[in-house]
C-alpha cells in the first residue's frame, strides 16, 4: 500500500476518533485534545494529498497545514483560557 494512502487512512481514523472523544468525554482538556486530534487527522489527509510520485511534494497543502496549525493553537489557547476563567481558583 502506498504511503500516502496509509496517511490518508490514518487521517480519517484520527478524525473520527477525535469526534468520538469530543462528543463522549466531559473534561475540557480531553475535548481540546480531541479537537487537536481531529485537526491532525485533516492535516494527515492534506500531507497525503501533497505526495505525488516522482514529483516534488505539492507545497500548497503543506502551507495549508502550517496555517491550520497556527489556527488550532490559537483556538486551543483561547479555549484553555476559558477553562481557566471558569475554574476560577477552584479545583479542576
Amino acid at each position: 500500500m502506498d504511503a500516502e494512502l496509509l496517511y490518508a487512512s490514518a487521517g480519517f481514523i484520527l478524525f473520527v476518533l477525535g469526534i468520538w472523544s469530543l462528543l463522549l468525554h466531559r473534561l475540557l482538556i480531553r475535548k481540546l485534545i480531541a479537537l487537536n486530534i481531529m485537526g491532525s487527522g485533516v492535516f494527515h489527509l492534506l500531507i497525503a494529498t501533497a505526495e505525488h510520485h516522482g514529483e516534488p511534494a505539492d507545497p500548497v497543502p503543506h502551507a495549508l497545514v502550517l496555517t491550520g496549525i497556527v489556527v488550532a493553537v490559537s483556538a486551543t489557547a483561547l479555549a484553555l483560557s476559558f477553562g481557566r476563567a471558569l475554574r476560577g481558583d477552584g479545583d479542576d
Partner: protein
C-alpha cells in the same frame, strides 16, 4: 473599483490593530473605522450595482495558486447589511461600554469580527474561508464572554468548541476537495463539477459538500444542532448578541447557500435539499415554541433566531425543485431578503432588549411591563422588529414569505405551507406575549426617546427591517441581477 474588495478587509483590520495598540482611544478609533468600513462597502455595493460582479486575484496570483475575491449581488447585499448593522451596533456600543476597561476589550475583538465577516462574504476560496471562519468563531466567542458571568463563560466556551468542531468538519471537506480537484477556487471547482468528468469525483465532491454543510450547519445553528445558540446569544452583552444573531450565524448560512446553489449545484439532489428543509421546518417549529416559553427577553430573541434560520433553510427544497426562471430567481432574491430583514430586525431587537435590561435591571418578560411603558421608542423598536419576525407587512420578511409560499405552491410542495402557517402563528404568540406588556396603567412617559444614542440605532435597524425593506425591495433585485422587468 476592485480596491474596495481588499479595503473591506483592510479597513476593519487596521482599525482592530490600532485599537489594540491604543486602547485609550478605542471607542473613537473603533467607531471611525466602522464608519470608514461603511463608506467603503457603499462604494463596493455601487461597484457591484454597476458591473454586476467585481473580481480580484489577491497579489495578482490567479487561482488555483492564489486566492480570489468575488463580490456579486449576494455578497454585496450581505456586506451592505453587515456594514449598516455594525455601524448601528458600534454607535450603540459606544454608549453601552462606557466603562473604558470593558471598551478596550470590546473594540479590537469587534473589529476583528467585522474583518472576518467581510472576508467571508468576499472570499471565493474554500481554505481562506476556513481561516475566516476561525477568526469569526474565536472573536465571536471571546466577545460573547465579555459579560464575564459564569453562565456567559460556559455558554461561550461551548460555542467555541462547537464552532471548532464545525470548522474541523468543514476543513476535512476542504481537504477532500483539494485532494480530488487540486483547486480551492469556487469558479474553477464549479466548472470542474459541471463537466462531471468521473463518477468518483462526484462522489468525493458530494461527500466533501456533506461534510462542509454539516460543519457550517453546526455554526449556523440549524436544528437540531442549535442547542448551543440560545445560551450563548442570550448571555452575551447586548451589542454582541445583536452581532451574533444578526450577522455571525448568517455568515455560516450564506456559505451554505453559496456552496449549495452555486459551487456544488451539479451534485445536490432534491432528497438532500428536502432534508435541509425538514431540519428548517423543525427549527421553525421548535425554535418558535421555545421562544414562546422563554421567560427572559434575550432568550426569546435567541430562540427566535433558531426559528428564523429555519425559515431560511425552507428555501432550499423549493429552490431545488424549481427550474431556472423568474420564479426561481425571485425566490433566490427572497431568501436573501429574508436574511437581510432578519439581520436588521434581530439586531434591532437585541439592542432594544439590551436597553430594556439596563433600564429594568433584568429581562424577565413577566416583569417588564413597567419598563416597556416607560420607553416608547424602545417599545416601538421591539414592535417593529417583532413585526419582521412574524413576517407581517410592511416588513421585508413578509415579501420574502409571500414569495416562499408562492414557490412552495408552484412546486406542489404543500407541506411547507403548513409549516409557515404554524410558524407564523407561533411567532405572533411569542411577539405579542411581550408586546401585551407594553400596555398598562403606568404613568405616561413624557418623551419619545429616553436616551437617544442607545435607542436611536435600534429603532433605525428595526425600521430598516419593517418599513424600508418592505417597500424598497427593487434595488435588491437589481443588485442580485434578477431584475427581470424591473429595469
Amino acid at each position: 473599483m476592485t480596491d474596495s474588495l481588499v479595503l473591506a478587509l483592510v479597513v476593519p483590520l487596521a482599525g482592530a490593530l490600532l485599537v489594540t495598540a491604543l486602547p485609550a482611544h478605542a471607542a473613537r478609533i473603533g467607531l471611525f473605522s466602522v464608519m470608514l468600513n461603511t463608506l467603503n462597502i457603499a462604494l463596493l455595493t455601487l461597484g457591484v450595482w454597476q458591473h454586476d460582479e467585481l473580481q480580484l486575484a489577491l497579489g495578482d496570483w490567479a487561482p488555483p495558486l492564489g486566492i480570489g475575491f468575488v463580490a456579486d449581488g449576494l455578497s454585496a447585499a450581505m456586506l451592505a447589511m453587515t456594514a449598516l448593522v455594525s455601524l448601528a451596533i458600534s454607535v450603540y456600543a459606544g454608549d453601552y461600554f462606557r466603562d473604558p476597561a470593558r471598551a478596550r476589550h470590546f473594540w479590537p475583538l469587534w473589529l476583528l469580527l467585522l474583518t472576518s465577516l467581510n472576508g467571508l462574504f468576499l472570499a471565493a476560496d474554500l481554505f481562506n474561508l476556513y481561516v475566516n471562519l476561525e477568526l469569526l468563531g474565536l472573536s465571536a466567542a471571546a466577545l460573547g464572554a465579555l459579560g464575564g458571568q459564569r453562565t456567559a463563560l460556559e455558554a461561550n466556551l461551548r460555542y467555541l468548541l462547537v464552532g471548532l468542531l464545525g470548522s474541523m468538519t468543514y476543513l476535512l471537506g476542504v481537504a477532500l476537495i483539494y485532494s480530488g480537484f487540486s483547486t480551492l477556487d469556487f469558479a474553477q471547482l464549479a466548472a470542474q463539477l459541471a463537466r462531471g468528468d468521473a463518477a468518483a469525483s462526484g462522489l468525493l465532491g458530494a461527500t466533501a459538500l456533506g461534510l462542509m454543510v454539516m460543519g457550517l450547519a453546526l455554526k449556523a445553528a440549524l436544528f437540531p444542532l442549535h442547542f448551543w445558540l440560545p445560551p450563548a446569544h442570550g448571555s452575551a452583552p447586548a451589542p454582541v448578541s445583536a452581532a451574533l444573531s444578526a450577522l455571525v450565524v448568517k455568515a455560516a448560512f450564506y456559505l451554505i447557500l453559496r456552496l449549495w446553489l452555486e459551487v456544488f449545484a451539479p451534485l445536490t439532489t432534491q432528497g438532500a435539499a428536502n432534508l435541509l428543509g425538514l431540519l428548517g421546518a423543525g427549527a421553525v417549529l421548535w425554535g418558535s415554541w421555545q421562544a414562546l416559553r422563554a421567560e427572559r427577553l434575550k432568550l426569546l430573541a435567541a430562540y427566535s433566531t433558531v426559528a428564523q434560520l429555519g425559515y431560511l433553510f425552507l428555501f432550499f427544497p423549493i429552490l431545488q425543485g424549481l427550474p431556472a426562471g423568474e420564479t426561481r430567481s425571485n425566490l433566490f432574491a427572497a431568501v436573501t431578503l429574508m436574511a437581510l430583514a432578519h439581520g436588521f430586525a434581530k439586531s434591532g431587537l437585541f439592542l432594544a432588549a439590551g436597553f430594556v435590561q439596563q433600564q429594568a435591571g433584568h429581562d424577565r418578560i413577566a416583569e417588564l411591563g413597567t419598563t416597556l411603558q416607560q420607553l416608547p421608542a424602545t417599545t416601538l423598536t421591539l414592535a417593529l422588529a417583532g413585526t419582521a419576525l412574524i413576517g407581517l407587512p410592511p416588513s421585508g420578511s413578509f415579501v420574502a414569505k409571500w414569495l416562499l409560499l408562492g414557490g412552495a405552491m408552484a412546486n406542489g410542495q404543500w407541506w411547507w405551507v403548513l409549516v409557515l402557517l404554524a410558524g407564523t402563528l407561533l411567532a405572533v404568540a411569542y411577539v405579542f406575549r411581550l408586546m401585551t406588556r407594553a400596555f398598562g396603567l403606568e404613568p405616561t412617559p413624557r418623551h419619545f426617546f429616553t436616551q437617544a444614542r442607545a435607542e436611536g440605532p435600534a429603532l433605525l435597524l428595526a425600521a430598516m427591517a419593517t418599513g424600508v425593506l418592505g417597500v424598497a425591495t427593487a434595488p435588491l433585485w437589481h443588485l442580485l441581477g434578477t431584475s427581470g422587468g424591473l429595469g
